[in-house]
């Protein structure tokens, strides 16, 4: 094991190496933009630099993770455990995928804007801070860094009014929600005198949460509820996903949501595990609302992009259900399902990006009709995505759903499991028609892709994502074990073997 003393500056820098490298990368891209920001080639170069800068960050992460870094005394400001490393890995994957998908997309949309990639990296660093934060203030700062960059990214397509409107809505409701979050932090700090999560955890161990603490936790949940787009704080999500450029919508659906959930897990499982009786009913209610509203409204959507937006709200509901038990299995389920969800959504938005133009607001079922005749592999990829989102056996999505159900049923809440299962049946109502359109309807005269070519980087990303979904769908053994073990590092309590997980 490699103890790192977080009190000393050198210890902190060592612990935060991945985040630092990502920020450095962002700075580097900014420097490159200063000179080269005129031609398409420039923005492609910026993209390549951004991608390149992710590699050292990933290396640092791997070094820390393999070395088994852990804090010397009590964790301070930043967590040093398997859970954080897994979160960082997830976020890096999401960011890398978004960058790869953006190459082709920006060219197709004719947007020559190299600072796009630096914003992406800044957002990524914000997410990494947020997901790995051990302290509420670090969490708040990470969240704000992420949000600000993503607000701008949402409005990136200066030419389209939809993008501008999406940015505005995202910004206003986002700032509004972060104010709630901050107020929650303040009250929690007031109630416990601590802002460190494990500190709060010790302070509240066993005891009943005072009223101020409860209100604080409530406000915190509202803030996080907005971030993961759980119903009733979800109203912004469909419009913002719809308006913003497709890779960014994908980034929001994967990276932002993942960071939100990973932070939420850490808060609930480390800071207030004993106050479960307070937050479990709320989480359950949010979960049910998200699953039901998300799936139902998605049924009536014509445009694929909006349908995916609502489906991501529904998935937020599934993740909240995974979160509900508060056991090690629950945390493990969140990690697995996030992995599955991120991979599938990345692929889905990647494919969507190719299907339409100008923000893909016009891509409907008819534009996918007969896709299998001209682009069999694209149709196959789309089918695998839909099946994985549906949670159909043979795909990684099913393994994720199985994990969630195991966690919930293990914690004796059969009703929640039934609601999850019934709502995912409703989701079949809008995932299947996409497959049917691709395979069973005969193509219109023109080519569904309208002559657009799927660039190499995009193809690679989608292909890798699809293969991983299928491989892990059939042989999920290794991933499941490591997920449980990661969750173990977070949740101190609970028995060793899976079954003893009762609490």
């Amino acid at each position: 094991m490699m103890p790192i003393d977080l009190q000393t500056p050198s210890g902190v820098t060592l612990a935060l190496l991945p985040e630092i490298l990502v920020c450095a990368g962002a700075m580097l891209v900014l420097m490159v933009n200063a000179w080269k920001h005129h031609t398409g080639a420039d923005s492609r170069l910026a993209g390549k630099v951004a991608l390149a800068s992710l590699i050292p960050a990933a290396a640092a992460l791997a070094w820390l993770w393999a070395g088994g870094a852990e804090p010397e005394g009590r964790p301070f400001m930043v967590a040093l455990d398997g859970f954080r490393f897994a979160s960082l890995a997830l976020i890096l994957i999401a960011t890398a995928a978004t960058i790869l998908l953006s190459f082709g997309y920006l060219e197709r949309e004719g947007l020559i804007a190299p600072e796009y990639y630096s914003l992406l990296l800044f957002a990524a660093s914000g997410m990494m801070f947020m997901a790995g934060a051990e302290d509420l203030m670090v969490l708040f700062l990470g969240l704000e860094v992420m949000s600000v960059s993503v607000y701008v990214l949402a409005g990136f397509n200066r030419g389209s009014i939809f993008s501008a409107e999406a940015a505005l809505k995202y910004f206003l409701v986002g700032a509004f929600a972060s104010a709630f979050l901050l107020y929650g932090i303040a009250l929690l700090w007031g109630a416990t005198g601590q802002t460190g999560l494990s500190g709060i955890g010790e302070r509240l161990a066993g005891g009943e949460l005072p009223l101020m603490g409860k209100l604080g936790l409530g406000l915190l949940l509202i803030g996080m509820g907005f971030k993961v787009a759980a119903v009733p704080f979800h109203m912004w999500a469909p419009d913002v996903y719809d308006g913003s450029p497709t890779p960014i919508a994908g980034f929001m659906a994967t990276g932002v949501k993942a960071a939100g959930f990973l932070a939420l897990v850490r808060i609930l499982y480390v800071a207030v595990p004993d106050a479960a009786s307070t937050w479990q009913p709320v989480v359950a209610a949010l979960a049910v609302a998200s699953m039901v509203v998300g799936n139902l409204v998605a049924l009536s959507q014509r445009s694929l992009k909006r349908m995916l937006a609502y489906s991501s709200i529904a998935h937020a509901g599934y993740l909240l259900t995974a979160l509900w038990p508060g056991t090690r299995l629950g945390a493990g389920a969140v990690v697995i399902y996030l992995a599955a969800y991120v991979l599938t959504t990345v692929a889905a938005f990647g494919i969507l990006g190719v299907l339409g133009k100008g923000g893909e607001r016009d891509v409907t079922l008819d534009s996918v009709a007969g896709l299998s005749k001209r682009h069999p592999w694209l149709a196959f990829a789309l089918t695998v995505c839909m099946l994985s989102l549906l949670g159909f056996p043979g795909t990684f999505g099913f393994v994720g759903k199985w994990a969630i159900l195991s966690g919930v049923v293990g914690a004796r809440h059969i009703l929640l499991a039934v609601i999850l299962v019934v709502t995912s049946l409703i989701s079949a109502g809008y995932y299947l028609p996409v497959i049917m359109a691709a395979y069973m309807r005969d193509a219109g005269a023109e080519d569904p892709l309208g002559g657009r070519r799927f660039d190499r980087a995009g193809v690679v990303t989608v292909a890798v994502a699809i293969t991983v979904i299928l491989v892990l769908g059939v042989l999920p053994g290794s991933v499941l074990n490591s997920a449980i073990e990661i969750a173990g590092t977070l949740v101190r309590t609970g028995g060793s073997s899976l079954v003893g997980i009762g609490r």
Binding site: L405, V422, A428, M440, N481
Partner: protein
């Protein structure tokens, strides 16, 4: 024969090969040019059938327990293993599947025009899915095969189906998935309550069966979930409306497999999972009476509605609802004769309805219409077809001497002792069966040959005869000499009755204490 099989270690690898071979077969099929696709598919299915025939000798079903079992851990963390095994019931179902598959490929020789490769690839994956369901002895694996089998069928109906195939395909998918998702939760709840009691989380069938008592509190709900999933698949009365649509739109091979094999997964589910896991709930008066009423209603309702169908495929679909009503009656009467009869009806119905769909398919290939009124008096023009259609219709009516009778006779005889009134009403189903099939047969084969297109009908070709021959042989053979098959499935039936009626005491209820008569 058993010695030869033992020498090549047949028992060890057969089940895995049966599952893997079709998938392996898909690879050359997809790569080969389109017109070679069907030959490869035929080759693969034939090899599969020849291999599976050995099962008849190697699976010794006397003890009624699972044979040829093998289990390798798959997801160790969750106690999930790739476990397979076979007993009397699943043996018959596997053989039925492997027998019908080559016939289906042969049957859709020139029926399928576009995307042949995709079609035959789907057929092959369907084999794996179906055989997987019948041999899986790990509940997770069973659930995965149960769902995976949906995709090929969904595509077969959806892509190569008739006019409103989209509606039929999605209806089929969502109906089945609705039930199976609830079953997923039930499987998990059962596994977890057993794990809480025994300390080890495992989805192994025998392990769960032994400790199913642990889920006593949830038993009614869990049984309800399992029963719903299987009821939709059987289909039992209120959940059957997907069947006629799926049959009407599916291509011939799709209808044959749907009727002959896929429906039996529902009844197999009841026999293997739903009832043995929760015998107390299954044997409770409320559930038994409910199931009996639904079975009898299914029989009479299916037959009556079949009588008024203008479309021949819909007629046969509703007749399947009626026939499977007999199977459910047999299962719920839970005497050895009735359960054995139920399994016989499962096999018999597979052969006769499969043959009926092939014949209807052949008509459709010639006249491209399924309306009964479009035909009339074709017996003069196509005598061989009429002879076969007659034999198959009679076997489906349950004429003694053909396969339909043996199963129905045993079911009715077995159930009469326990539920005389409902069996009496069910027996009237025999009359309605004769009514709708004879009426349809008359409107197609007999009456005046007045339509000009019917005069140009060509009789069955060599290929079509090759498809029908094994089925006709099976129908006559099972009708006159069903003894070997009956003996093979009897132990499994006996074990089922024992589990439902609680212990060996079952025997006295099943049969008077004085020595058995001839």
């Amino acid at each position: 024969m058993t010695a030869f099989l033992a020498s090549i270690g047949y028992n060890g690898w057969i089940l895995h090969v049966l599952l893997a071979l079709p998938l392996i077969g898909v690879v050359p099929l997809v790569l080969a040019p389109a017109e070679r696709a069907k030959r490869i598919a035929l080759a693969v299915t034939l090899v599969e059938f020849i291999l599976s025939v050995g099962l008849w000798w190697s699976v010794e079903t006397i003890s009624g327990t699972l044979q040829l079992t093998s289990s390798t851990p798959w997801i160790a963390a969750w106690g999930i293993s790739y476990a397979v095994g076979i007993d009397g019931i699943s043996l018959m179902m596997v053989l039925l599947t492997t027998l019908l598959m080559p016939l289906c490929v042969l049957g859709s020789w020139n029926y399928i025009g576009q995307k042949e490769r995709g079609y035959y690839a789907m057929l092959l994956t369907l084999i794996t899915g179906v055989i997987g369901v019948f041999v899986a002895t790990d509940l997770f694996l069973f659930y995965v095969f149960w769902e995976v089998m949906l995709i090929p069928m969904y595509f077969i109906i959806g892509i190569w189906g008739g006019k409103n195939r989209l509606y039929a395909a999605i209806k089929f998918f969502i109906f089945t998935m609705a039930g199976s998702l609830l079953m997923l939760v039930a499987i998990l709840a059962l596994a977890w309550s057993v794990a809480a009691k025994t300390g080890t989380l495992s989805f192994d069938y025998t392990h769960l069966l032994a400790n199913a008592g642990a889920a006593k509190a949830l038993a009614p709900w869990l049984f309800g979930a399992f029963a719903l999933a299987f009821a939709i698949k059987v289909p039992i009365f209120p959940f059957h409306t997907w069947l006629p649509d799926a049959h009407v739109e599916a291509p011939t091979a799709g209808s044959v497999l749907l009727a002959a094999v896929l429906l039996k997964m529902g009844t197999y589910g009841f026999l293997r999972f739903a009832v043995p896991f929760f015998p107390s709930v299954a044997a409770s008066p409320f559930v038994t009476n409910l199931m009996l009423v639904l079975a009898v209603v299914g029989i009479v309702y299916g037959a009556l509605v079949a009588m008024v169908q203008p479309d021949i495929k819909k007629l046969v679909a509703y007749s399947s609802v009626s026939h499977l009503g007999f199977v459910m009656l047999g299962i719920w009467a839970a005497t050895v004769q009735s359960v054995q009869g139920a399994i016989m009806v499962m096999i018999g119905h597979g052969l006769s309805t499969g043959a009926l769909f092939f014949l209807v398919g052949m008509l459709y290939e010639r006249r491209h219409t399924r309306e009964i009124s479009a035909y009339g008096g074709i017996a003069k023009v196509v005598p061989v077809f009429s002879l076969l259609f007659g034999i198959v219709a009679l076997s489906s009516i349950g004429l003694p001497g053909l396969n339909g009778f043996v199963g129905e006779f045993l079911v009715l005889l077995g159930s009469f002792g326990v539920h005389p009134v409902s069996t009496g009403i069910a027996t009237t189903g025999v009359i309605f069966a004769a009514a709708y099939l004879l009426w349809a047969m008359q409107r197609i084969l007999f009456n005046k040959l007045d339509k000009r297109e019917n005069e140009a009908l060509t009789d069955l070709s060599g290929r079509e005869l090759a498809v029908m021959l094994p089925l006709i042989l099976g129908i006559v053979w099972l009708g006159l000499y069903p003894k070997p098959v009956l003996l093979k499935i009897q132990p499994a039936a006996f074990k089922y009755v024992e589990s439902v009626r609680g212990g060996p005491a079952a025997l006295d209820l099943v049969q008077r204490p004085q020595e058995p008569g001839r």
